[in-house]
């Protein structure tokens, strides 16, 4: 079980797997907990091989009870352990909602900083995989709305590898949303990538510009970043230069990076799979309006899910923010 090094072309799922392996190796207090994460390796095989190499005391198959998983992870954290909990699917996180929002999020606050809960909750989320009900949801803003939690989501294998390790090292609880529709996307991953930069910063609280442009800022995270990049390609063919930002973190939200971009482009479209009503796009739009009102050439537009339960899979591609729907929003913004 020697650690792999160098740069490899691997899937996002494998990147998380290797990041978890690295975390287990570097800190004996790190545990993995979840349903079917042991011998099976998780329903998406993200924990594949870890049970065999680290044993049942560190890669723990739990009873089928999400509140119990998070509640016991809290107790383990109070005893000095760092649990990484897998919630099998986005739509199954709700039994744990009470433990996450009333307990996990505020223990540090209510103890006046005496108690820290470094718990990571991994959540495969998002749609587009033809799944049945409750397997394609995007509940991330429910947690971003709760103070005391960090909410992050990688969009690439390279980010996933580093961010999962940073989440484990974080002194605060982290909701780690994994774009399950991108699990099998491949990318180059530097397996020796440092977790902090030369100034000691992780960058886990930062958005990044993943493609520079001059005419419009297109903001996505998790599963929509790849689509946004395709939109930028398509727009470039028509002579429009789009800057694409990967938010990476919803809590804290890095509005500074987005505002700096919009001050240059004057236009902004935000894209996510979650419903637009009270969504991340609404928060970004409000902040951009407050911070760069006089730079805006058009209102900030949102592309995302509708105010309906996630639809049946035969209709999900019409529900999800597709390349065409995003291009439509880009055109509407440019037409102002």
């Amino acid at each position: 079980m020697s650690t792999t090094t160098g740069t490899q072309r691997i899937t996002l799922a494998k990147a998380i797997n290797l990041g978890l392996r690295r975390a287990l190796e570097s800190d004996p207090k790190v545990l993995l907990m979840g349903e079917d994460i042991g011998a099976l390796g998780g329903v998406f095989r993200v924990t594949d091989g870890l049970y065999k190499d680290f044993g049942s005391e560190r890669v723990v198959d739990t009873p089928l009870a999400e509140s119990g998983i998070i509640g016991t992870a809290i107790g383990l954290a109070l005893r000095g352990y760092r649990s990484v909990c897998e919630i099998q699917f986005d739509g199954f996180i709700y039994p744990a909602f009470d433990q996450i929002t009333t307990q996990l999020s505020r223990m540090h606050y209510r103890s006046q900083g005496r108690l820290s809960l470094p718990v990571v909750i991994r959540v495969p989320y998002g749609g587009g995989i033809g799944a049945i009900e409750h397997h394609s949801e995007s509940p991330e803003v429910l947690f971003a709305h709760t103070a005391g939690l960090r909410v992050v989501s990688p969009s690439t294998p390279a980010d996933a590898y580093v961010m999962i390790q940073q989440a484990v090292a974080s002194p605060d609880p982290v909701l780690f949303f994994e774009p399950k529709g991108r699990y099998w996307d491949k990318g180059d991953v530097d397996l020796d990538a440092p977790l902090v930069d030369s100034t000691g910063e992780t960058g886990l609280d930062r958005a990044v510009v993943v493609r520079p442009g001059t005419d419009l800022t297109l903001v996505g995270y998790g599963p929509t970043v790849g689509t946004c990049l395709k939109v930028a390609d398509a727009a470039a063919a028509e002579g429009t230069s789009i800057e694409v930002i990967d938010l990476r973190t919803l809590s804290p939200l890095d509005a500074v990076t987005v505002a700096a971009s919009v001050r240059r482009t004057g236009r902004c479209v935000v894209v996510h799979e979650a419903p637009v009503l009270y969504g991340t796009g609404a928060e970004v739009a409000a902040r951009i309006t407050e911070e760069c009102f006089y730079h805006l050439q058009a209102p900030v537009l949102r592309v995302g899910g509708f105010h309906i339960p996630y639809p049946v899979s035969k209709l999900e591609h019409e529900y999800l923010p597709s390349l065409d729907r995003i291009l439509d929003a880009v055109d509407r913004s440019l037409a102002y």
Partner: protein
């Protein structure tokens, strides 16, 4: 009171009758054999002091000094008996009515009132007392206790045979909490992990206005075996029996024998909280029935019968109770309002740009008022 269902008083371990007469029990009498007159007087003193504190807190709420108070009145035997069975290294997860247990863990009772006065969500450092903060969401902490016990297992502090090292974890909760999913999940998780946990349920018969008959058809202790968790019903107003059954459960937990469910059958003699009005849902006859079974009177009767309660001891205890009451009042009056900007503190353990920006904005806003500075506009 011979009923069926969760309010039956049959099957209770009892070492002291309501009249204060000792009862022999083959399994549990040996567990209190070492408790001499000094130890019994100590428990009596604990119970009297905690009740005085509790009454003082109720008065302080009535006088507007506390926003709310949850009385422990009537549950002193369950709390002092179980609390005095703990070893220093054991770790306790209380609900929000465990003032007696807090006392046995060395928590300054005045600090319990910080939460109810609205100046602190906690009030003590859990690590100083191995006594976690109060939890207000019913039953949530039973899972934290289970996880903590799983951590203790991993730390190798169970079953070493060293009485100074082996530790147990105790979760206190009420009859209402037994309906919560979290309590049932705590039974599942502690059972399958063989966690060194004592699930101590004080069945005080009332979850605000709902009788235990609204939570269960069977005695609560009967639930344990279905989870594979040994369980015991104890007379919760008998401090000696509560001590004995807790000592047994702690020993099982520390030695690697896994969890135990204890149901201490007691009675909430007061209201749920100072906002409650029990006259709307229960009879004065019922309250009188339980007043006749007061846990403090019971131990007092034993000490008197055995000639172990001197007038000097009682005089001194009276004086100590009065002094405690005065100290609590003074402490509460001295608890100042926290700095306004402290509401932004400790939201995150690490830096957070959103909280930092909101704190900075708020401080600027406060400073903008004439005369400037914190709270100037109030």
């Amino acid at each position: 009171m011979s009923q069926t269902g969760p309010l039956t008083d049959s099957g209770l371990v009892q070492l002291l009758t309501p009249a204060g007469v000792r009862v022999e029990h083959p399994d549990y009498s040996p567990r209190i054999a070492h408790l001499d007159a000094d130890a019994l007087r100590g428990m009596y003193r604990d119970m009297v002091l905690v009740r005085r504190f509790d009454n003082e807190a109720t008065a302080l709420q009535r006088q507007g000094e506390l926003g709310l108070w949850a009385q422990s009145l009537g549950q002193e035997a369950a709390q002092i008996g179980s609390g005095r069975a703990l070893a220093p290294q054991d770790y306790v997860f209380p609900s929000y009515r465990e003032h007696g247990v807090a006392h046995t863990r060395g928590v300054d009772l005045a600090n319990l009132l910080r939460l109810f006065r609205g100046i602190d969500h906690g009030g003590w450092n859990p690590a100083d007392h191995n006594f976690h903060l109060y939890t207000l969401v019913i039953g949530s902490h039973t899972l934290h206790a289970t996880g903590y016990a799983m951590g203790v297992q991993r730390d190798g502090l169970v079953g070493t045979g060293d009485p100074e090292r082996d530790m147990a974890v105790v979760a206190y909760f009420g009859d209402g909490a037994t309906s919560q999913g979290d309590v049932n999940e705590a039974l599942v998780f502690s059972a399958v992990n063989n966690a060194g946990l004592v699930l101590f349920c004080q069945n005080n018969q009332w979850a605000i206005s709902e009788s235990t008959t609204r939570q269960s058809r069977a005695p609560l202790a009967d639930r344990g075996p279905g989870f594979g968790v040994p369980s015991v019903r104890v007379d919760g107003n008998d401090v000696l029996a509560c001590y004995a059954v807790t000592a047994e459960a702690l020993e099982r937990a520390r030695s690697g024998g896994g969890p135990t469910l204890i149901e201490a059958f007691t009675y909430r003699m007061g209201a749920h909280t100072t906002s409650d009005d029990p006259s709307r849902y229960r009879s004065s006859a019922e309250e009188e029935y339980w007043r006749q079974r007061d846990p403090i009177d019971r131990l007092r009767a034993l000490l008197v019968a055995e000639g172990e309660l001197s007038p000097e001891f009682e005089t001194e205890l009276d004086a100590d109770s009065d002094a405690l009451g005065e100290r609590i009042r003074a402490a509460v009056h001295a608890m100042g309002r926290p700095a306004t900007s402290s509401m932004f503190d400790h939201v995150y353990a690490g830096p957070n740009a959103i909280v930092d920006a909101e704190r900075a904005w708020f401080q600027e806003y406060e400073a903008s008022f004439l005369g400037g500075g914190e709270g100037a506009h109030r």
